[in-house]
Symmetry: C2
Subunit: 450 residues, 2 copies
Amino acid sequence: MNIDNYIELYKNKTFESMNLYYRSKEIFPGGINHNIRFYKPYPFLTVKAKGNYLKDIDGNKYIDFWNGHWALILGHSPKTITKNLKKQIKKGTLYGTPNKPSIKLGELINKAIPNAEGIRFSTTGSEATMYAIRLARAKTGKRVIAKVIGGWHGFNSNLLQSVNYPYEADEGIGLVEDEGQFIESIQFNDLDRSLKVLESIKDDLAGIIIEPILGGAGCITPINGYLEGLQEFVKKNDSLLILDEIVTGFRLSYKAALDHYKLDPDIFTLGKIIGGGLPIGAVCGKKEIMGLADVTDKIEKNTYCSIGGGTFSANPLTMTAGYKTLKYLKKNPTVYEKINFLGDLARSELSKLFNELNIEAEITGIGSLFMIHFLNDKVKKINNALDVALSNNELLFNYNLALIAKFNIFFLPLKMGAFSYAHEKEDVYKLIEATRQIFQNTKKYNNIQR
Amino acid sequence: MNIDNYIELYKNKTFESMNLYYRSKEIFPGGINHNIRFYKPYPFLTVKAKGNYLKDIDGNKYIDFWNGHWALILGHSPKTITKNLKKQIKKGTLYGTPNKPSIKLGELINKAIPNAEGIRFSTTGSEATMYAIRLARAKTGKRVIAKVIGGWHGFNSNLLQSVNYPYEADEGIGLVEDEGQFIESIQFNDLDRSLKVLESIKDDLAGIIIEPILGGAGCITPINGYLEGLQEFVKKNDSLLILDEIVTGFRLSYKAALDHYKLDPDIFTLGKIIGGGLPIGAVCGKKEIMGLADVTDKIEKNTYCSIGGGTFSANPLTMTAGYKTLKYLKKNPTVYEKINFLGDLARSELSKLFNELNIEAEITGIGSLFMIHFLNDKVKKINNALDVALSNNELLFNYNLALIAKFNIFFLPLKMGAFSYAHEKEDVYKLIEATRQIFQNTKKYNNIQR
């Protein structure tokens, strides 16, 4: 079988999705509402999601490793959430005033992650990271923010820098030059080079914002000492450490990754999981920093840091979904046992398989997060975003599409996967078996063997 | 009765809210998750919202003119929305893939407002305005954005300029100087002065972003010729007109205010109403501009404008609520007849009353939006945000608090009010009667009479 056949297979089974994609294109630029949701030839259209699967409009049912942008740690529509959302919907979706579920969610987060001495809920992660760096600048009086090459902190103008390869080029047109002039990029997992860059800007360095596990850029864990080295640098230089935990918060354990890596960030962000499948973001941090956002007793504009909020921040629907999710996670430590076990199993079985098939691949990840990378002459090991960008992404894409087309297994092509509590061991074995068949039966893949 | 008594009255009836506010303060800076949701001595805590009312944790039931930041045109939890949300919750809250309700909502918007040739959904209005100006810069290759003094376009770093009095001061600390250097502010309703400013920056002017009705800054309608004059200027100078219709879209009629004022913006934003009470934002515009956001067939970074999206953009829950809301509005033109009638009634009855009471006040607004302003020696007429800032806001605040404390009528203090389809004529008469009693019975108010 040729790789082209998978595209044909995909088209044959997603006829209605294709029709609706062309209808979408009449309204939405590119036919989608998030750039990464597009893949060639067109993305399928989901009509139902439950537990570990997505069902498309043509009736295909996919094992879902995308999991709502990795937000749905309990899987799609778990009963504990749907039941409580239904109740809340009757009581209102948007009070526009303080409400109790927000206090309960805030208190749960604070108890689970004591670094969250203060919390401000926003509606998206992109807002949370924007507010995080605003607070860092407000606190330090400095301007420069260091970020990691390939680090993803949302679409806000402040941090839309060095996200995609080639990293030195602007992230598209329409960003004024000056939005990037106070952003400096460093290479993930290369402490020496990172410190050299940081040293050169330390006098004006407000902080470093970093995902403890590089997420969108390729599911890359930090090498020992890297994050600690950055932390040491900022503490020494009156700058701040900002951990972007939008993906990792409550993902590895009923805490944030800052606990796993024993870090003490001044500010950190949360999102995804804490919203229980509804829109959320949060900026959290030390009391004296978060206190800058308190405008209630301040009159002069130069005494506070103005951050949102927004019309939908802390709305009772999101707050209820988030609170019930965290409460469930707290009560059921088996969730983490299970999803971390599934992640370990997937990584080891995939490694074994690729070894056996004589295909050079690296499976990165930790806990329930994992991603497959195909290596080549340029890339022998995945340490940073550049390695991912230069690895064999054409093969990865074709593999992902083959999984969707023939085996009803959905990763958003080129993106990392996540296990939810709704996944089972069988899902791993199905992935392994599908992978084996794809590589054994597809002619064009043969030339990638060692 | 003295004005201080209203504060005591408020405290007496909101004891549990007070307790929870102090609990909130332990977690959230200022005890809230949106700066404007705080008012002195503390905001009450809502436990239920239905139709035209909010119920607080102490059991008080308020007529709600705040209406979820003016988003809930059908009132809180209308059956047509709750019914369909319950169904959708079972089918999933966050597919992370394209879905049908988003196409249906997009098509409805496009049909109602043909200027929306292309649409991109975001999760918040703050994101939508940020993307709007990024697109304007991408399209024109120019950098400067003109905005109105007091104009509110969300908490994004790009547009957080000249929002609060004194307008020339930075909006708090932590915004780097350069974020504001490409923003130029103009005075609402003063075409001559505005054109003079615009003329001085026209070579680098990417566009003007403006709320057709100045919303957060005081519910001020444009004088004849003002918006048209701005539009004429941008069309002549290869700049763009960006209408921020997050408040006004689908508010005056089953269209946007651009229809009411016969404008032809290149880009406009929507939010609030189109989400049916769930988080949403949208940037809409001419095909050739929105097309810049299409990255599906582009490889080089300098060929597209990178905008979100976001994890929660076009999620099926919001899309369902929005679609069902617009469909209801389309089918039931009586909604607009009713809410516009109530707005007219409130404006005329309040004017009559203040006249009778010999109190200098101006009731601004249009359709279902209205706001009371108390005038003074400095301000005899409300034309722009500065007039609102310099009007008698102390009196307005005390009046708003009295309404809450004694008469169970809720405006977010100092903010405009909105009618929803769930309001009735009785709500207007209750407001009138309460207003009469407050001013007739309160000693401290007496000295404000003419």
